[in-house]
């Protein structure tokens, strides 16, 4: 199979996954045993509900409804949020929420990788020794504490007792870089703890395996320094699993930070989902799920492309297959 054929296949797979996920979400919506128009505008008249059914395709079958929604979605119309005073667009909400979630996710990944990579390398280099045992035990504790518990501890200690950082809200860059980071630090720390533990363990295991490879023995026999061997010859091939895991967790972080975003009221995508569920805004929920799925498969695709660059053998193997 040619390279073009391989990428065409990957893109096709991605599109199929997206269609299946969004259709599944759409179908779940139609399976709710109540009239969606009544839920969306409980105080509306029957004629207003009929207009709404036509507007969003609820008067069509599940496939007709899905196709209408999909058509709107690809044109950027993600539906509306309904309340007695009118409507707000889901795209408008996501346009505000998405950059916040993306930044939260990006900072979380940067922090987690910045801490996990040196720890993983040291841990692998000192495998079985005291340093490795200390790092492993600390990581074990870190991975045992759920993110929301870390968030609450941080709020009590750092936010309330010490009053160093704000406990809720979001500040844009225009409100000041320092103010922005002050608001982001605790949510980022809460989300990073678990990831640091996971990433360090993954990297440690892969590096220990790589350190046993013949080419490492060859490099050592050539008199290369430990640092050069570790970072140039061992880290790069050992990082595939780490970066794959990091990329896969990015999609999950966008929608999966519901609890953390609610605790810190950062008004990101997770908070939008929380509000959509609480307010029975099912159209908004469906579109949010679709956007998260989009990000998920996008990052999967990035992993595929990225791993090919990091380790050309993987790309060649796939092409050869």
């Amino acid at each position: 199979m040619s390279k073009f054929g391989f990428w065409l296949q990957r893109v096709t797979q991605v599109l199929i996954v997206l269609l299946l996920v969004t259709f599944g979400a759409s179908l779940l919506l139609r399976l709710i045993p109540v009239d969606l128009a009544t839920i969306l505008i409980p105080n509306g008249s029957e004629s207003e509900r009929e207009i709404l059914r036509t507007e969003i395709g609820l008067n069509k079958g599940p496939i007709g409804y899905y196709l209408q929604w999909l058509g709107n979605f690809v044109h950027g119309d993600l539906g509306k949020i309904y309340f007695s005073g009118g409507t707000e667009t889901v795209s408008g909400h996501l346009a505000k929420a998405m950059p916040r979630s993306l930044l939260l996710m990006a900072y979380t990944q940067v922090l987690a990788l910045s801490v996990a990579i040196p720890l993983g390398v040291i841990s692998a280099y000192r495998a079985g020794r005291r340093t490795d045992r200390i790092i492993s035990n600390v990581l074990f504790v870190m991975s045992s504490i759920p993110g929301f518990a870390i968030a609450l501890i941080l709020i009590i200690v750092v936010g309330v007792k010490l009053a160093w950082l704000p406990t809720l809200g979001y500040a844009t860059y225009s409100e000041g870089i320092w103010e922005h980071f002050k608001h982001m630090l605790m949510p980022v720390l809460s989300l990073s703890f678990g990831l640091i533990a996971t990433y360090t363990r993954l990297l440690r295991a892969d590096m220990i395996a790589s350190l046993r490879e013949d080419y490492v023995t060859m490099a050592m026999s050539k008199g290369l320094s430990d640092r050069r061997i570790l970072w140039k010859h061992v880290f790069r091939p050992s990082s595939i699993t780490l970066f794959t895991s990091a990329a896969l967790s990015m999609g999950g972080l966008i929608g999966g930070a519901i609890v953390i975003e609610s605790i810190f009221a950062t008004y990101g995508v997770g908070f939008e989902i929380f509000v959509a569920i609480a307010g029975r805004q099912y159209i908004s929920l469906q579109s949010c799920v679709a956007v998260i799925a989009l990000f998920y498969v996008f990052f999967n695709l990035i992993v595929d492309i990225g791993s090919g660059f990091v380790d050309p053998r993987t790309r060649d193997r796939r092409v050869n297959v």
Partner: protein
């Protein structure tokens, strides 16, 4: 006409009396005290637990979002700390000898935020919009952002027969039945704002609030309201200084209690509100915090269990008695409200003029069991019904389970019926459930009680324009009927109704109170509805001064804390 209130009379005596009443009132305060010297400037953020569905006639701002809305809007009349309704945007209100005609005169020199005058035209337009007249004639509610539908206000204004402007600054209201306390209805528990004509008639009635308040709209969305100081605000402080003190306030919707608690503790929020319905634990914890001040409203909010008289089993009085007798209200207060509140012994609280213990079917398990047996003897059926609850809400589920246990202990079979909030609202008006717990009634007066417990507010007013239009125009037959729609128990009781209307007409306070109490007794003896708890609301703040210090324009103290929080006009930041 007798002039009841002109403002400024006997101020000293009134202030002293009110101060005494306020000192004895049930508003509880704890924690740090605010500084005494007003400080100008600053922007603060306030955490609330309700969102902002809109600002037009049919958009009901609830509790904490009503507090936010009331920074933009003001009401024609206000309630003093002692419960008396006094003019606010109005200069005076006068009534005819039979209390069927009321002349409302507006205070001079007040302007809406758009620069237009507050005058008779504006008041007339507001009243007609509340009555639904503007919707009926197509002036309101025809734009997507102008949801001026027939809101619940139509039920509250159903006793109005006619409204006319009688001068540049005066409006005359003619009532169908006499109301000696009509200003209470005009207040509607703080909900009948003065909206600018440009808002009411504009295309953005729901999204562009224009009022007379101390703050003006900066931006609004479903989860946030940002307001800035109104530089032309009409009121001054005690020293003649400009109000408000704050530059701006951001009200932010935080549905979960935890961020509100941590926010106010850390200073990220200057203040935040809570409800004892589900956040009693947080309120009690915050009360103990010496760095914060927590003020709690009186328990003047009366969640009701509405019993549908139209269908079985609650068409039977035995069934209604069984339900009421089976509820262990002491246990409920302890388990669900952590002791915050009070055990009800009437359908309204002790501060309400209608409060009467007589006839109230309180907890009595033996009596409940006997009622269940009596129901079976009467109908040949077991007493079985469904209790709607919102399964997505942990609080609603816990409440439903506890109620189910109590009723089952008396021999009733209770099916839990999972509903969404939207379904519950839709099926409550008109009532389609057998029974429904819902907080509607509140306050010390009757304006926010009577419309829910009478069956023919407008049906008893044959001259009401909606009645006439619905009869004349076949196309409007489907128009929502508000004559008794607010009475979701759907009962008809001429005894209680006559007592209520007689009480409303009576001007002698002692006689009035007696009539209202007799009505309450009748409602309780017939168990037209029952209850299990009474609620309070709290506000916790830090680094704020002036809370509750600014009196009313007509003299006297404003109520410190209500379900719609505090008044922000005279509040300053001490930071």
């Amino acid at each position: 006409m007798k002039k009841i209130f002109t403002g400024g009379r006997r101020k000293v005596a009134a202030v002293m009396a009110i101060a005494l009443v306020a000192s004895l009132s049930q508003v509880a305060t704890s924690g740090a005290a605010g500084a005494d010297t007003p400080k100008r400037g600053g922007n603060i953020t306030v955490g609330i637990f309700d969102s902002f569905p809109g600002y037009c006639m049919a958009d009901n701002l609830a509790n904490s979002s009503l507090m936010a809305g009331r920074t933009i809007y003001e009401t024609w009349v206000e309630q003093r700390a002692d419960g008396k309704i006094v003019p606010y945007l109005l200069k005076s209100f006068e009534h005819s000898a039979d209390y069927k005609t009321w002349l409302l005169t507006i205070r001079d020199g007040i302007k809406f935020h758009d620069g237009t005058d507050v005058n008779a035209t504006a008041l007339l337009l507001n009243l007609q919009a509340l009555r639904g007249a503007l919707y009926i004639n197509g002036l309101l509610g025809k734009s997507p952002k102008s949801t001026g539908k027939l809101g619940t206000a139509v039920g509250f204004t159903a006793n109005i027969q006619d409204v006319v402007a009688v001068g540049a600054m005066s409006v005359q209201i003619t009532l169908y039945q006499a109301e000696s306390d009509y200003p209470e209805s005009l207040y509607a528990s703080g909900r009948f704002f003065a909206r600018a004509p440009s808002q009411i008639l504009g295309a953005d009635c729901s999204t562009k609030p224009v009022g007379t308040g101390a703050f003006k709209l900066v931006s609004t969305e479903l989860t946030k309201l940002v307001v800035a100081a109104n530089p032309d605000y009409w009121r001054k402080d005690a020293n003649g200084g400009k109000l408000p003190y704050l530059d701006g306030i951001t009200f932010t919707f935080l549905p979960d209690a935890q961020p509100r608690v941590s926010g106010v503790k850390s200073g990220a929020l200057a203040a935040t509100m809570f409800s004892s319905a589900s956040e009693a634990k947080q309120i009690k914890d915050l009360q103990k915090n010496k760095n914060l001040t927590t003020i709690i409203s009186p328990t003047d909010y009366y969640p009701t269990i509405w019993l549908n008289h139209k269908i079985a089993p609650f068409s039977s009085k035995n069934a209604r008695l069984a339900v009421s007798h089976a509820m262990d209200r002491v246990k409920w207060l302890k388990v669900r409200q952590k002791g915050l509140g009070m055990v009800p012994d009437s359908i309204v609280g002790p501060n309400n003029i209608m409060y009467n213990k007589k006839g109230y079917a309180g907890f009595d398990l033996a009596a409940a069991k006997a009622d269940v047996v009596a129901y079976k003897t009467e109908t040949g059926k077991d007493l079985e019904f469904s209790l709607p609850y919102v399964s997505a809400s942990a609080d609603s589920t816990a409440n439903a389970v506890l109620l189910q246990q109590m009723w089952q202990a008396a021999g009733m079979k209770v099916n839990l019926l999972s509903q969404t909030t939207a379904e519950a609202i839709q099926k409550a008006f008109p009532m389609q459930y057998q029974l429904l717990p819902l907080l509607l009634m509140e306050g010390t007066g009757t304006a926010f009680i009577v419309p829910f417990v009478v069956s023919d507010m407008s049906g008893g007013n044959p001259k009401h324009f909606i009645t006439q239009i619905a009869q004349a125009v076949p196309a409007l037959k489907g128009l929502p009927v508000y004559f008794g729609i607010l009475n979701i128990s759907s009962f008809k009781d001429t005894v209680s109704e006559n007592l209520l209307f007689a009480a409303r007409a009576e001007s002698n306070m002692a006689k009035k109170k007696k009539l209202y109490q007799q009505a309450t007794q009748q409602l309780q003896e017939e168990v037209h509805m029952t209850n299990i708890s009474m609620l309070a609301y709290s506000l916790t703040y830090k680094n704020l001064g002036g809370v509750g210090q600014l009196g009313l324009a007509a003299g006297g103290e404003r109520r410190l804390m209500t379900n719609f929080g505090i008044d922000w006009t005279g509040v300053w930041s001490t930071k």
